[in-house]
Symmetry: D2
C-alpha cells in the first residue's frame, strides 16, 4: 500500500479560483477554502463573498483578495473575470441553495468551471436546465457531495464494483442529527435560519440538507438509483416550515430494496451518516463519524475491518490518503479530495487530455438525480405516503 | 445500587413445570430449561417433548423425567397432569408456532398456567380466542418475548415512563441477521426448515420470527403501539416460501413515527436487534449483542453510558441483575428473568396475593398485538405497500 | 460450526455436590450454584454454608438442603459425607481465601473431589502442600479461574497453540476496577471488608483478588509462565491495609516480555479484564466485558473479528457455547463451563476413563503458579521494585 | 459552544516560513506544510529541502519556491534569509533527529524562530544547550508534539487542571504500532531506515520515535513529570540496532504511579496512542485513532462521552476546532493547531504583546524533558531494569 503522493503544485501549476458566498459568519465557505488550500492546488484570487457590500469587502480583506477582485455581485464578477487574462478558471459556489442555479449559469456561460455546493438547485426544472447548459458549454461541473471523497467510501465503491458483495439486495442509509431538536432558528442560529426557510432552502428541509447526502452516498457506492420511493416527511418542531425528519422506502430495478432515514431531531446524533449495503455474498458498513474504518463481511467468514491506507487497503483508498493509517483523516480531508480531483480534471481540461477513470467527483447529473429524489419524496409525502416514480 | 437478592428457592418453594416440545435436536426448548433452572425456581417434572414417540421417550430420559410423566401427546399430558395432586402448575410451550394455540388452550382449560414462546399463534383469530380464554380461565399467560428481560431494557422503559426523554417522536427498531442468506433450509438446517415453512411458521417468515421481537421491544420500552403501518416484505432467496426481509414504516397516535427493519439476509449481522428512541428532551440506544450498556442522550449534554447494575443504574435494572456490573449478563439471563417473573406471578396466584407493579412480563395481550402487527404488515405488503390500520 | 450439544443430564447422571461457604449475603457462593445448575449436571445436597450456625441453617433452608446435611463445620461435613453411601462426590469451596487450604485438605483426605475458588491459598507453602496432597490422594482439584471458561478464550488459546500468532513476543494483561476508589470497607461493604483484610485475604489485595486472574488468563492463553517479575504494589486509599493497585513487568524464558496492571481505584472501570498477545505473525485482543468477540490480527492483513459460535469460530469455542452467536453469553456461562468440565472429569474418574484433551480446567498446579506469582510480586514490591525470580 | 472563528489571514498577516528537510520522498515535511497551510497563516518562501542538491532543487520547484531561496545548506539559508528584508520569520525543521540541534542553533542565532520536529535532539547535553540558547536569543521554539493539538486533549488538560478528576493517582500511556514487526528497514522503507539507525535517530528507537510522544502527552494532560523511571527496552527483530519495544514504570512526586508502553511490533496496532488518567474523583480515557471523543468518568456516575465541539464541549476544545462536531477532525488538523498557535505566538512577538494563557504549544523545555526521559529509560534498561532518577 502506498499512500497518495504529494499533491502539492508549484505556483504555475495552481488553479485560479473564485468564490461566490462564504463571507464572514458563513460556515461552508471556510470549509471550501480549507479544502482548496489543503493540497496546495488552488489560489483563491477573486470573490463575491456576500450580497451585503460591506461584509463582502471586509471578508475579501480578511482573505487577502485584491480590492479590484472583490465584486459586489456574481454577475459582475463573472463578466470581469472572464475578461481578464489572469481571470479565474473555476468558481466555488457556497451561497444558499436558491442562488446555486443562477450563479452556476452565469459562470458556465462565461466559460468558467463550476464547483458547487449541494443540493444543486431548488427544483428539478432548474437542475435539468443546468445539465443542458453544462453539456452545451463543455465546462466542468463538480458538485461537492464531499462524503464521496472519504477514502473508505472509495474502497467501498470499488469493492461493490468488483463484485465482492455479490448482487446487491439491500441498501440502508441514514443521517441522524439533533441540532434542530428545538426551534433554534428563532434564536440567532444563522445556519438554522436559512436551512428552515423555504425561500432559501427550497421545498425540502432535512431531505435537502442531509437526505440528499445519504442518497448520493448510497448511489455512489452501489451504482444504483431507485425506480420508486415512498416517503414520510415530518415537521416535529411546532412552527417550523420545513421537514426536520425524513423516512423513505426505496425500490430499485432488479428487486433490491432500501431504507433511508434522515433526521435533525434525533437527540444524541451529531452527524451520524451511516451506510450499510448487503448482497448475495457479503455486506459492508461505514460510519461518517469514524470514517477511517470500513467493515466488510463475507458470508460464513469472520468480519474484516479495513483501515484507511492500512494493511490491505485497496488502492482506491490509498490513492486519496495523505497520512499513514492510524493517523485519522477526517471531514476536511475528504472535502479536500473533491477539490484535488477537481484540480486534476481542470488541468486535464486545460491540456485537452482525457481524465483517468480513477478521478471521481459528483457531477451535474448526480445533482439532477438528487433533485429528482427530493421532488419524488416531497410528492410522496404530500400524497400521504404513496409510491412515486423517481424521474 | 443493590443487585437483585438471590432468587433461589428451597424445594417446596419451587414450581412444578411441564414442557411441550423441546425434545432432542430442538434449540429453544433447551434455552427455556436453562432459563427455568438458572434461578432455581422451577422443577421440570413432566413433558410431551416430541410428536415422535421414540424421540419423546429418549428426550425425557435425558432430562431425568419419570417415565409415567413423559407423555405421547399434549392432550394426554394436560388431562393427566390436571388429575394428579402433584401435577404441574405451569407448562412451557416450545413447539413450532402452529402448535402454540391448541396446546395453550388445552392447558388453560385444564387450569394450568402457560408460558409460551412467540409468535403466540399463527393468526389474529386464534390470538383473539386465546385472549378470551385466558380471561375466562383466569390463568396466567406469559409470552417469552425474552428481550424484555434484559436489565437495561427495564431501565430504558422506566426512563421513558418517567419522562426522561420527553414526548416520544421517533422509534427506530431493527433486527438484522444473516443466517438465511443462502437456502440452508434445503441442506438439513432444522431451524431453517420450519421457520421457512408456512404450514409450521404461519404467514410470516422474518416478520414473525424476528420482526415481532423488534416490534414488541419497541412497544415495551415506549408504551406505544402504532395506528397504521406500511410494509414491504421481500423474499430475496429464490425458491423460499416466506419473506426473509421486512421493511416497515409506522405511524403512532399523536404524531410519532417509526421505522422497523428485520432481515435474515443481511450478511455480517448475527442477532443485531437494536432499538433507538428519540423524544423532545432526549434519546436512547440499545443493542442486544452488547446488552449491558444503555446510551442515554439529553439534548445539549454529553452522552451517558449506563451499565447494568453499575454506577447510577436504575433500580429497575438492578432488580433483575445477578452479578456485578462489568461481568456481562447475556441472553440466557434475560430469558431467565422472564421465568423468574413468571415464578413470582405463579406464587402470587397460589396465594391469591396481588402482584407488585415491578413484576413485568409479556402477556396474552402483547401476543395479540404482535399477531395484529404481523397481519397488518402482511396485508400491506400484499397490497403493494399501502398504509394499513393495525387492529 | 455446531454449538455444544445439550449438557443436561438425567437424575442419575448428576453429580452430588456439597458447598463450604456461600451462605446468605455471600456473593460468589450464589455464582457457583448458578454455574453448577446451569447445565443440570450437579445436585447440591449438602453444605457448611456459614461459620455462623444460625446463618448456616437459614441458608440451607433457603436452598432446600435436607436438615441433616446442613453441617456446623466443614470437618464434620467431610467426615459425615464420606461415610454416607449417597455422600457428595465433590465439594465447592467458596469461603474467604484463608479457609481454602484447610477445607480442601479435609475433603481431599476424605476422598472427595474439590472445586475451589481462587486464589487457592494464602501462601506458597500451603499451595505446595496442597499440590502434594492432590497427587497423593489422586482426587480432582478444579480451581475456578472462571475466565478460562469463556469460549473466545478457548479459541485464543487454541490459536496461539496452533502457531497462528507465530512466536510470542509480548503479553499485555490488565484488570482495572474502581469499586475500592474510596474506603468502602468502612461503610458496610462485606465484599470490601474481607478482601482488604490481610487476615482473611492473605498478603495481597488487588494482586490476589484480580491480579491473579489476569496472570492466570495470560498463562492459559499463551502457555507461558514468567521467569522473573518486578512489581510495584500501591495502596492509594489512606488507611487501607492491602494494595489496591498493582503494576508488574514480566520476563519470560526465550525473551518474551509482559506487563500486567490490576487496579481497584481506576475510576470508570468495572471489571476491565483485558488480554493482548503479540507474536511474530499476529496479535490478539480480548475484553472480558465484551467476551463474545475475539480480535485477531495477522501482519499485513485487515483485522478479523471472530464471534463466539459465529462464522468461522473455532471448534474449541463452539464446544463450550450454548446459544447461537449474536446472542451474548456472559460471566455466568463462562463460570458454568468450568463446572461442566469438572462434571466431565468427575464422571471420567467415576468410570476410570481417560479425559479427552479438549476438557480444560485450571488445576492445583495453576493455583500454585498463582501463589508463586503473588509471592514474587509482593517480595519485589517490598524490596522497592526489583527483579525477583518466580519460583 | 462556539467553534473557533476562522483563522484565515490576509496576505500581510501571513508569516514567512522556511523549511529544512522535507524534500521529495519525506513524510513529515509534507505534513508540516499541510499543517502550515490549513489555516492560511503561513507562506512557505524558502527551503533547504534536502542534503542532496538535485533533490533539493527539484523539491523546491515542486513547491513553487523562488530559485534563489532554495538553498544548498541550512547554514547558507540561515545567513541569507537573516540578511533579506523579506527574510523568513520562522523555520520548520523536519530533517532526521540528529540534525535538529545544529539547524535549530543556526536559525536561533540568526534571529529566526524555530518550529522543530521531535525528539528535539539526540542527547540531553544538546538539549540543555538548546534551552540555554533559546533563553539567550529570546526567540520562540515550538516543538511539534502534535498530539497536544487535538481538541479533546486540550479539554482533558483543562479538566485535570480544574480538578475534575481530583488528585491524580495513575497515568497509563501506551503507543503500540506494528509497522516494524519485520525487518522492513532492509527492504527499502526510508522511514524505517533512518528510524532504526542510531547514527540518525539517536540512542533510542521506539522510545525516541513514539515513546516520547506518549510521555509528552501524559505530561501535557496531567502536568506531571516522573521523578524515577524503570525501563526495559527490547529489540525483538533480530539484527535491528535499536529498541522496537519499550516498557516503563513511572513514579511521580506525591505518590502517583504510571506505566508506559510503546511498541513497533504489536501486530494489529497502527498508531494506537492511548492515554488514561485516574484520580481520586474521576478518570479519563482518550485514543488517538478516534480523537474526537473523550471519555470522562466520575466515581459513582455513568460515564460521559464528550465530543469535540459537541454539546457541552469545554471552550478549550472548541477554540481549536474548525468544523461542527460529528464531522471528524484528525491528525492533520491537530498538527495544524500547533502551527496556528505558533502563528499567534509569532505575531505576538512581532508586536511585543504578551501571549494569552490559552495559547499552548510544546516548548524547548518540553523537548529537554523528553530527552531526559529517553536518557533515563535507556540507562535503566542498560542497567538491567533498575530505577533511575529523571534529571
Amino acid at each position: 500500500m502506498t499512500i497518495g503522493a504529494s499533491r502539492e503544485q508549484g505556483g504555475a501549476g495552481r488553479i485560479r479560483l473564485g468564490m461566490v458566498g462564504g463571507g464572514q459568519g458563513a460556515f461552508i465557505g471556510a470549509v471550501h477554502r480549507i479544502a482548496a488550500r489543503l493540497d496546495d492546488q488552488f489560489d483563491l484570487v477573486a470573490g463575491a463573498l456576500s450580497s451585503d457590500p460591506a461584509r463582502a469587502r471586509a471578508s475579501a480583506a480578511d482573505l487577502g483578495l485584491a480590492t479590484e477582485r472583490s465584486y459586489g455581485s456574481f454577475t459582475e464578477m463573472a463578466e470581469a473575470e472572464a475578461a481578464r487574462p489572469d481571470g479565474i478558471e473555476a468558481v466555488a459556489i457556497v451561497a444558499p441553495n436558491h442562488v446555486h442555479a443562477p450563479v452556476a449559469r452565469a459562470f458556465l456561460e462565461a466559460g468558467i468551471h463550476v464547483i458547487c455546493d449541494k443540493p444543486m438547485t431548488t427544483s428539478v426544472t432548474e437542475a435539468e436546465a443546468l445539465v443542458e447548459l453544462v453539456h452545451k458549454t463543455g465546462k466542468l461541473f463538480i458538485l461537492t457531495h464531499n462524503y464521496t471523497g472519504y477514502p473508505m467510501i472509495r474502497q467501498a465503491r470499488a469493492m461493490v464494483g468488483a463484485g465482492e458483495l455479490g448482487e446487491i439486495r439491500l441498501v440502508q442509509a441514514e443521517y441522524p442529527q439533533d441540532w434542530l431538536t428545538e426551534r433554534v432558528e428563532l434564536s440567532g442560529n444563522k445556519q438554522a435560519e436559512w436551512r428552515t426557510d423555504p425561500a432559501r432552502a427550497g421545498s425540502g428541509g432535512a431531505i435537502g440538507d442531509i437526505g440528499t447526502h445519504a442518497y448520493n452516498l448510497a448511489a455512489f457506492v452501489t451504482g444504483l438509483e431507485p425506480e420508486e420511493v415512498l416517503a414520510q416527511l415530518t415537521t416535529f418542531v411546532p412552527g417550523r416550515q420545513l421537514d426536520d425528519d425524513v423516512q423513505v422506502l426505496l425500490r430499485y430495478a432488479g428487486g433490491a430494496r432500501g431504507m433511508l432515514w434522515a433526521s435533525q431531531v434525533a437527540v444524541g446524533n451529531e452527524n451520524g451518516l451511516k451506510l450499510r449495503v448487503y448482497g448475495t455474498k457479503g455486506g459492508l458498513e461505514w460510519l461518517q463519524a469514524d470514517p477511517n474504518y470500513l467493515w466488510i463481511s463475507r458470508y460464513g467468514e469472520p468480519k474484516q475491518l479495513f483501515t484507511r491506507a492500512g494493511a490491505a487497503a485497496w488502492p482506491e483508498a490509498a490513492r486519496v490518503s495523505r497520512v499513514p493509517s492510524g493517523h485519522p483523516e477526517g471531514y476536511l480531508e475528504g472535502f479536500a479530495t473533491i477539490y484535488a480531483e477537481a484540480a486534476q480534471a481542470i488541468r486535464a481540461a486545460r491540456s485537452g487530455l482525457a481524465l483517468g477513470p480513477e478521478i471521481l467527483f459528483p457531477t451535474v447529473e448526480d445533482g439532477l438525480a438528487g433533485m429528482r429524489f427530493i421532488a419524488a419524496a416531497v410528492a410522496s409525502s404530500k400524497a400521504g405516503g404513496t409510491w412515486v416514480r423517481v424521474r
